[in-house]
Amino acid sequence: MSLQDEILSSSEVLDFRGSTLRSLDDIKELEDGPEGLNAFLAVAEPEDLEACGQGPLEGVMVALKDNICTKRLPTTCGSRILKGYRSPYEATAVQRLRQAGALIAGKTNLDEFGMGSSTENSAFGPTLNPVDRSLVPGGSSGGSAAAVAAGYVRMALGSDTGGSVRQPAAFCGVVGIKPTYGRISRYGLIAFASSLDQIGTIGATVLEASLLLEVVSGHDTRDSTSAEKPVPRYRDAAVQSIKGMVVGIPTEYFPEQLDPPVRALLDEACERLVAAGAEGRPVSLPHTEFAIPCYYVLATAEASSNLARYDGVRFGARLPAEGLDRMYELTRGKFGAEVKRRIMLGTYVLSSGYYDAYYGTAQRTRASIAHDFTTAFNEVDVLFTPTSPTPAFPLGERVLDPVAMYLSDVFTVTANLAGIPGLSVPIGTVGGLPLGGQLLGPWWGESHIIAAAGALEASYGEDT
């Protein structure tokens, strides 16, 4: 039995038909019960499981973040403005999943339009962290990460604009991959910030997240930003040796303020990489400190434009009113507070007279951050950093402090700004809470970071 078969057969959902249908019921029962996590916004009915192709995911249930368009299930983006919205078409990534034999288990909760780091910004209530129900699961793909961590499904798709796959994966103790910009088609992924958004994969193991990545990757003529690059067998990379791999440790990602226990786990992970045959080397990414402001200027600018289409005219919610302007105001008033905040910020930074000071400066900073990585990857194969400065935080703790919330993205936004792939893998627990280590690779370097993550996962696995 190959490792892949072994892992897939260990999944209780693999036995198609009987067990799958029972699993859908299980999910519903668990979600509706006292232990419910509010991870799902919609769970598929058996009749929604369309006939599918024969491929590496045959009979495997996959959950989708609810900003990925599906025809049979609603797509809400966690927003009242899209409540009950049914897309007339299906995202390319979903088509690829079904061609590979996967079954769409349901749609998972998220921060409204992907805007947030805790899934508390969903119009349909927060998702709870299955590790500790008083904590956030991270976000914005919190529903997908929680669904995998709780064992509802073994794999899920999320989207990652500034860390939205990697950070919840870290908070819930699972594996999350944000691939290179252009690796997975964005057709049918509802845009938050188009130049930063990528669909990402979440799996219970490195192998599962990698297999899922392999299935949904590849060029799509319907997305001009998707790349015409062949897709390697990422599942093979998950078990590849990392002997001789050079792992860079960027000093800017290990600030003094890191808690000593967090720091200790990170050091241990480095040692394990070295023990697996890698060589560690300190590097510097000098523009890191500008990443958060740069990210929030660009992301909100693009968001203000991407969310203009929710105007009540063609689809979604419409609040009737006398006159067009009033209709716009009332309808768009249905956005949540964080979405409104970002639309206003984005509108401001793009307005005439401010454009160059904000957007122009941010674009130049983005180029400097990308250049830092290019320089670093001339010397090293991958970079190792924390995914987030802390493990999962309590529900409600940062809701009223948006800046503290924004700062929790400090280690993840750089990969989106530079377009490079990033991955979060569990590296132990702090006070019982999972901590994630992040691996960053050069453009199209998914195989390297998957191999490094696979080596770490194997090393921790040997302990038990």
């Binding site: 900003n67 990925i68 368009c69 797509t75 983006c77 899209l82 919205y85 897309s87 007339p88 078409y89 995202a91 964005r186 057709y187 049918g188 992924l189 509802i190 845009a191 910030a193 188009s194 130049s195 003529t221 319907r222 997305d223 001009s224 930003t225 600018a301 693009e302 203000s304 434009s305 969310l307 203009a308 289409r309 105007d311 005219v313 063609r314 689809f315 067009l324 716009y328 509108t347 793009l350 307005s351 005439s352 454009y355 957007y359």
Partner: protein, 480 residues
């Protein structure tokens, strides 16, 4: 005191592209509302634009026809504003880095030739259309037009009179049709014009406050709107007041300019680079290919026709108004038809037939070789010119060969002297008054008499012989 107007125009041209700019819907006019729409042009969540290269090719033709500098990389931008006919809440256009800049158009102005500089040519998508008469007490939206490909052509403020603006637009339209970039169908709104205008003292280099006139879709409308606005500005200045910067909407039905509400014009479009599309890349090779494929432009062709074929100004202008007519003419000349004869046929009988059938020289079923054969038969005296026009009509309706038609219908030219003489005698007998006038020295009346004989013969008589016979008989009977 004298005033001089300073006018610049922006023209939105619908490209003759089969598909929309960023999706696979066909770009057609006049179909049932919302029958050519998809997630992309409806702006549905998650849909993404993909560039249609055909539209770039047509825009490139346009820019090169006006002698513009092509930028090898041009960048898409989003122009944001809320309006129900704009599905995404932004229009995809080009802003900081357009496809092309710095061209020029020369045309015959009302007095002299005028050269107008083209500031820029860029590509953008069109919006949909609001329908105010489909649903009671509500507006409906037709998105068939949303996302169709336009080029916007912006001139420098080089124009001085409303009449010249109209002539300039005529030249522009003709060129766009010539190069196949647009159908330029005015009724379908293929050309829409905005103009900005200010007045100043002649010779002054300072510009006055300008106003912008929007929403004009006929050339005569542009001329009228500008004349009206120029008069208004002059009257304002003569009265010692100041012209306020403002935007005016032209109402074609009422023939009046309406001031836009200040809120309508206070747009901050918040342009920024479109992240869903890569820049448009054009290669030198592409530019060369397009340049080689561009036809001779109307103005150049007109001059050449006058020079090479020695045509009169009027004939050369009429012939070159459409590329198809000019091609047809040159094909005739190519098969050894005298240019003057060819020009006469194309602008005369053939044009009459095309007008009647609403066809152009490209589609009219009688091709140049047949007309050439027909002209040959006239020259050999087989058929009279007037009979030949009837032959042309039959050729168009039924096809066949000119000589067969002439034979089958008995349209051969009558050259039998006995028959001709009897017609001539008959006509002279009937028109004693005209005969007397001719003899009284009014020699021009001969043409009338020839016409009468031709009429008696049903157009078959050889007019040269008729003429000779008439002169002979009129002088023979002189003494009686």
């Amino acid at each position: 005191m004298n005033w001089e107007a300073v006018i610049g125009v922006e023209i939105h041209v619908k490209l003759k592209s089969e598909y929309k700019l960023f999706c696979n819907d066909r770009a057609v006019f006049g179909d049932e509302p919302n029958t050519h729409i998809c997630p992309v042009c409806m702006g549905l969540p998650g849909a993404l634009p993909v560039l249609n290269p055909e539209a770039v090719g047509l825009a490139l033709r346009t820019a090169l026809a006006f002698g513009c500098t092509i930028h090898f990389e041009s960048v898409w931008a989003r122009k944001s504003y809320f309006y129900p006919d704009l599905p995404k809440g932004y229009q995809i256009t080009q802003f900081e880095h357009p496809l092309a800049t710095k061209g020029s158009v020369t045309f015959s102005g009302s007095e002299d030739d005028i050269s107008v500089s083209i500031r820029r040519v860029h590509i953008e998508e069109d919006a949909g259309k609001l329908l105010h008469d489909k649903v009671p007490r509500a507006s409906a939206i037709d998105l068939n037009r949303a996302g169709t490909a336009l080029v916007e052509i912006v001139t420098e403020p080089d124009l001085r009179t409303a009449a010249d603006v109209r002539l300039f637009l005529g030249e522009l339209k003709q060129t766009l049709e010539y190069i196949g970039a647009s159908n330029c169908n005015m009724e379908e709104g293929d050309l829409r014009v905005d103009a900005n205008v200010s007045v100043r003292r002649p010779g002054s280099s300072r510009l006055g406050n300008k106003t912008e006139i929007k929403n004009v879709n006929s050339f005569s409308g542009v001329e009228r709107a500008l004349s009206m606005e120029i008069s208004r500005q002059i009257a304002t200045l003569d009265a010692g007041s100041v012209v306020g910067q403002q935007t005016l909407l032209w109402d074609d039905h009422r023939e009046e300019l309406r001031k836009m509400r200040s809120k309508e014009e206070s747009h901050d479009y918040r342009y920024f680079p479109e992240p869903d599309l890569s820049p448009v890349r054009v290669t030198q090779e592409q530019v060369t290919t397009v340049l080689e494929s561009l036809p001779e432009l109307p103005r150049d062709r007109c001059s050449r026709f006058k020079e090479v074929y020695e045509l009169k100004d009027y004939d050369a202008e009429v012939l070159t108004q459409s590329a198809a007519n000019a091609d047809y003419f040159e094909e005739l000349v190519g098969i050894q038809i005298d240019p003057h004869v060819a020009a006469k046929w194309v602008t005369g009988p053939l044009q009459a037939v095309m007008n009647q059938r609403r066809e152009d020289a490209e589609t009219v079923p009688v091709r140049p070789a047949k007309i050439a054969a027909l002209i040959g038969l006239i020259e050999r005296g087989v058929v009279s010119e007037s009979a030949a026009k009837s032959v042309l009509v039959i050729l168009v309706q039924e096809g066949g060969s000119p000589s067969d038609i002439i034979e089958a219908r008995g349209l051969m030219q009558e050259r039998d002297i006995g028959q001709l003489t009897s017609w001539v005698t008959e006509v002279l007998a009937k028109h004693s008054e005209e005969v007397a006038r001719y003899r009284g020295g009014e020699s021009k009346i001969l043409g009338y008499l020839v016409g009468q004989v031709m009429h008696s013969s049903g157009g078959t008589a050889d007019p040269r012989l008729v003429r000779d016979l008439l002169i002979e008989q009129l002088s023979n009977e002189q003494g009686q």
